[in-house]
């Protein structure tokens, strides 16, 4: 005989869960009561949003399913942003939420929310449990869907009376899916077709997205890219999937992508896409995206095809299968010589204009941070200007080494996600960078960092603005900086100290002063060498912007660059 809470925990263990992130409350109390001795460690976060982002960080760093636990009502609704984030970025996530007693469901009881309904369009799969006997099957099926195909979020909502009830329990069960999608792996002739398209192409390019990392196909992809040797670029989630020193690699593409990558996309006649959604930040104006190109789209999720631009050849399936199949075909085919096209696309003439601008010190600071990161380290970016500067500066070749909320763009992501990453990869360096706005969205998780004594290296890029919004106000709203001024920010160093975390400040002036360069370098060395949590605040120019930039709705060829005038 077990109660529902014990059954849940045993089923979680059977799915390989040994760590969960959460926040207790009334309707989930039986689960917390049963935690001790369950074999599952629980991390008490200081907000449910922190819990779900930490679970995401754990999942993104490992590829395993992250688990977040919350109570009913506000506890569950506080998970919603993280669930949406996991959906957008294909993160395997299972959220266990408590619900009011079954007889009270639908009565607007205290802390009752229809979390099943609220999250319906954000989840890959969800269930409101109606009987204790259903628990083993539901948990097994939930984990199956969270990690299968294109990974995604699952919600399992459990009324408190079911968690408390007792039942005979014969052990966890396995889930056998009722069907296998008829789309996957059914296109055996695609490799020859893609090869034929390459034969006809004059200016082929490759776009790498998150799918290459998620499918574990990075090594196969690199082998293929080395063979093709054609201009290649990545989305923000594809960063790290391509060896950055490859001679054909042009960096990030899209709204804040490199000039060379965006120009190559504008000119190409054949675009090979590997595991990217082609969202608006990548395409710009979809009607003018890769206007001369045929598109071959390698993708596991058919729902991602043709969203903004019709592709000529969809290749549906796991990249871990389709890339090797294409490689074998390409290897035995005499590919055309693309060296002339590669020389143009990757040539020095397409480098960005040499105008370092106001963002130069910050980017230089980020480069100094990255240069100190060990190869097995993980970097997390929050959302905003610092995220794009970091993406532009990131040079590591680590498939899971660059983590950010790319699709949803959820400010406040980085700090709690870094907690999940550090717990997933103890003994490795975890560097988390936030803006001053985003850091304050989950600043309470400093308490979690301190409690667990996690040696996370936290950096705030402090421009005393909601910088990316201010940049758009400057460029597109006649400098009407409406409600983006954060000049009354608290003293972050003192706040960190209140949480008993070591903290320091570096100003842009200090960083640029040649007389201080040695001292700054030593402080950065100490920052990384410390075995304790550390916070570093870098005060940068308030009106530094991210360039290049493709204005929203413009074509990728319509990039704008920083003008040299002083502000």
């Amino acid at each position: 005989m077990r109660n529902g809470a014990q059954i849940v925990l045993e089923c979680l263990r059977a799915e390989g869960v040994n760590l969960a992130f959460g926040y207790p409350g009334g309707a989930i109390m039986p689960l917390y009561d049963a935690l001790e001795g369950s074999g599952i460690s629980h991390v008490l976060m200081r907000h449910e949003q922190g819990a779900v982002f930490a679970a995401e960080g754990y999942a993104r760093a490992t590829g395993r399913v992250g688990v977040a636990i919350a109570t009913s009502g506000p506890g569950a609704t506080n998970l919603v942003t993280g669930i949406a984030d996991a959906k957008m970025d294909s993160v395997p996530l299972v959220c266990i939420t408590g619900q009011v007693r079954s007889p009270l469901i639908g009565t607007d009881a205290f802390q009752e929310t229809d979390v099943f309904g609220v999250t319906l369009s954000l989840t890959k799969w969800s269930r409101l449990v109606r009987a204790i006997e259903d628990l083993p099957g539901i948990i097994a099926e939930g984990f199956y869907w969270a990690r299968s195909g294109r990974p995604g979020p699952v919600v399992i909502d459990i009324p408190v009376d079911i968690l408390r009830a007792g039942a005979d329990f014969c052990g966890p069960v396995s889930f056998i899916p009722p069907r296998i999608s008829e789309h996957v792996g059914s296109q055996s002739t695609f490799a020859a077709t893609v090869s034929a398209l390459l034969q006809q192409a004059k200016k082929p390019v490759v776009l790498v997205g998150a799918g290459a990392r998620l499918s574990g196909a990075v090594a196969d992809l690199q082998r293929l890219l080395d063979l093709l040797n054609i201009p290649t670029f990545a989305t923000v989630h594809g960063l790290g999937a391509v060896k950055q020193d490859s001679p054909y690699y042009l960096g990030m593409v899209g709204m804040h992508g490199t000039r060379a990558a965006n120009m190559a996309l504008d000119e190409t006649d054949l675009l090979l896409v590997f595991g990217a959604r082609l969202d608006d930040r990548v395409t710009g104006d979809p009607s003018r995206f890769a206007p001369h190109a045929k598109i071959v789209h390698f993708e596991i999720d058919p729902a991602q095809l043709d969203r903004v631009r019709t592709c000529e050849l969809p290749v549906i399936g796991n990249l871990a299968e389709t890339i090797p199949a294409f490689y074998r075909e390409a290897e035995r085919t005499q590919l055309p010589d693309f060296s002339a096209w590669r020389a143009v696309a990757c040539g020095a003439a397409r480098a960005e204009p040499r105008n370092p601008g106001l963002a130069h010190p910050t980017k230089s600071f980020l480069q100094q941070l990255f240069s100190r990161m060990p190869k097995d380290g993980t970097f997390l970016a929050d959302v905003g200007q610092h995220q794009m500067w970091a993406a532009q500066c990131y040079r590591a070749s680590s498939p899971r080494g660059f983590i950010t909320s790319g699709g949803l763009g959820a400010m406040g992501f980085a700090l709690p996600a870094a907690i999940g990453v550090q717990l997933a990869k103890p003994g490795t360096t975890v560097l988390s960078i936030s803006g001053d706005g985003g850091f304050q969205m989950n600043i309470q998780e400093l308490a979690t960092v301190h409690r667990l004594d996690l040696p996370i290296k936290m950096v705030i890029i402090d421009n005393k603005y909601l910088g990316m919004v201010r940049q758009w106000q400057e460029l597109f709203y006649k400098r009407n900086y409406a409600e983006t001024d954060l000049s009354d920010n608290p003293d972050f160093v003192e706040i960190a100290k209140a949480y008993k975390i070591s903290a320091a400040l570096i100003t842009e002036e200090e960083f640029l002063d040649p007389a201080s360069s040695g001292e700054v370098a030593r402080r950065l060395d100490r920052f990384f060498a410390s075995s304790q949590p550390e916070l570093l605040v870098f005060e940068c120019h308030p009106e530094a912007n991210v360039y290049p930039m493709v204005p929203s709705g413009a074509a990728l060829s319509e990039m704008i660059f920083e003008v040299s005038e002083e502000k």
Partner: protein, 105 residues
């Protein structure tokens, strides 16, 4: 107007996921009929979509876990007429006076 026939397992939320895929694109649902069908359920939808949206919707529906089959049908005039004329109307909603009264109660 296009007609779609979907077969699905009538598990929690599957029909709502099918409908949400339409509604989130700000496409009106002119006609919906869901009913048991052999060992599963089927739903017939009449929606005003362009060719690109047909493809997007079909792919979105197929990505829903418990959707078994998606078949776009040809536009049928009878469906269109039925959608505009023949559907039984729900009771009239509460009028403005009653609404005001209940709001102040």
């Amino acid at each position: 107007m296009h007609v779609f026939h979907l077969r699905y397992r009538n598990s929690q939320g599957t029909l709502m996921r099918i409908l949400t895929a339409v509604v989130r694109r700000t496409i009106d649902l002119a006609y919906v009929q869901a009913e048991p069908s052999e060992h599963a359920h089927k739903v017939t939808l009449l929606v005003d979509v362009n060719a690109k949206q047909v493809g997007q919707l079909c792919r979105d529906w197929r990505a829903i876990v418990d959707v078994i089959d998606v078949r776009p049908g040809v536009p049928i005039k009878e469906f269109w007429d039925y959608a505009h004329v023949g559907i039984p109307r729900p009771p009239e909603s509460v009028g403005p006076i009653e609404t005001a009264r209940s709001a102040t109660a």
